[in-house]
Symmetry: C2
Subunit: 226 residues, 2 copies
């Protein structure tokens, strides 16, 4: 078993493990119960290692090399889909981490934790909402365009049109949050401390303008909206 391990670059323990799983059985034993392997075993082990290197679970390798013999092509395609899903998940995670890291130097750890918490909450909510085929984004873009028109026209945030747009924006936010208070608070927190640089055509000045318009209608009109 030592020679086989040496030849394949695996450990003796790994070979024992494979035998335990029924992946690779030694043909014979010596009088001292030492395992003996043949050429067929070596070839099989190379195959096992190759499939393992592709990230396939040992159980599936057992099926591929066993009596069930599912199509290797199908197995690979299924596994590729899993890898793609994992890549996407890690990619999203990476974006979150990069954002959080970017804030790390500027604020203290407690605020940073609060921001991470807000990001986590929003990301979770976004996941629940799933793909909505960009419809929501289109609505935000439209709102942004209208609001920007008001801003460049020099209308104050307290004017009628900006306030009407702010009301619609608030409704969109509430819809996104599913009515959850904490999620709304998280969104407000992120707007303040970690403005997303480019979201459906909104930039920092525009968001500031929106915040002012929102502030103008917040107190008096809140109950009427409900």
């Amino acid at each position: 078993v030592g020679e086989l391990a040496e030849a394949t670059g695996l450990t003796v323990r790994t070979l024992h493990h494979y035998e335990h799983l029924g992946l690779l059985e030694a043909g014979a034993r010596t009088e001292g119960r030492h395992r003996l392997y043949g050429t067929r075993d070596v070839r099989r082990l190379y195959q096992i290692r190759a499939l393992r290197d592709l990230g396939l679970p040992l159980e599936e390798i057992g099926r591929v090399l066993g009596s069930e013999r599912p199509s290797v092509g199908n197995v690979l395609r299924d596994h590729l889909a899993r890898v793609d899903a994992e890549l996407e998940r890690l990619g999203r995670l990476r974006v979150l981490l990069a954002h959080a890291s970017a804030h790390a130097g500027r604020i203290d750890d407690d605020s940073l934790l609060a921001t991470i918490e807000a990001m986590s909450r929003v990301a979770r909510r976004a996941e629940v909402r799933g793909r909505d085929s960009g419809e929501t984004e289109a609505r935000w873009r439209k709102l942004g365009d209208e609001l920007r028109a008001c801003m460049t026209a020099g209308e104050p945030p307290s004017a009628r049109r900006p306030r009407a747009i702010a009301r619609r924006a608030r409704a969109l936010l509430v819809e996104f949050a599913g009515g959850d208070e904490r999620t709304l608070a998280a969104l407000a927190h992120l707007r303040r401390v970690a403005p997303p640089e480019d979201l459906a055509g909104w930039d920092a000045p525009l968001m500031g303008y929106l915040d002012q318009a929102l502030a103008n209608l917040s107190n008096e009109e809140t109950e009427q909206d409900e």
Copy 2:
């Protein structure tokens, strides 16, 4: 504990687990030994969940929220590096899987397994060699250019110049393989069955030309090379 689980979207078992790890201890118990949590516990749990969502191991979360208080920024950066490494690994794996899947339909499963094995072997060897800053690639490109000149000049693969180039190519292959027979065989196998589409300026016709030149010098000159 049920309320807390409900509020945070975690399971009761998860909260028990965190308590077992010392991550979150219930302040008090009821007469029936039921756990009681306070506002501070709830906040702490939200922080735990947020950091967990970033993929941090629970033990590290314990340190961040515990008495050691390492800088959250540093922890995040370290973790980001880990995530990047994993992304890179998965990316390479994805390329391998995609190549293998592409061959799946055209050949039978045994040949496919052999090809996967060859890919695995070459990938492993490439990993051992590590980054060599593109020096090797430059040498291959140079060889390719010279050989292509011979080919377009109409020289037969058995001519002197192509054979000399083939000798140098063989030396490069042997160097890459570290002198390992099986790796050389794997390289030959891949050239035959799974020509890499674009590798340092080599295309399929050029490789075929090289193979012919190699065949011409293989038998007689092998011993002299050694």
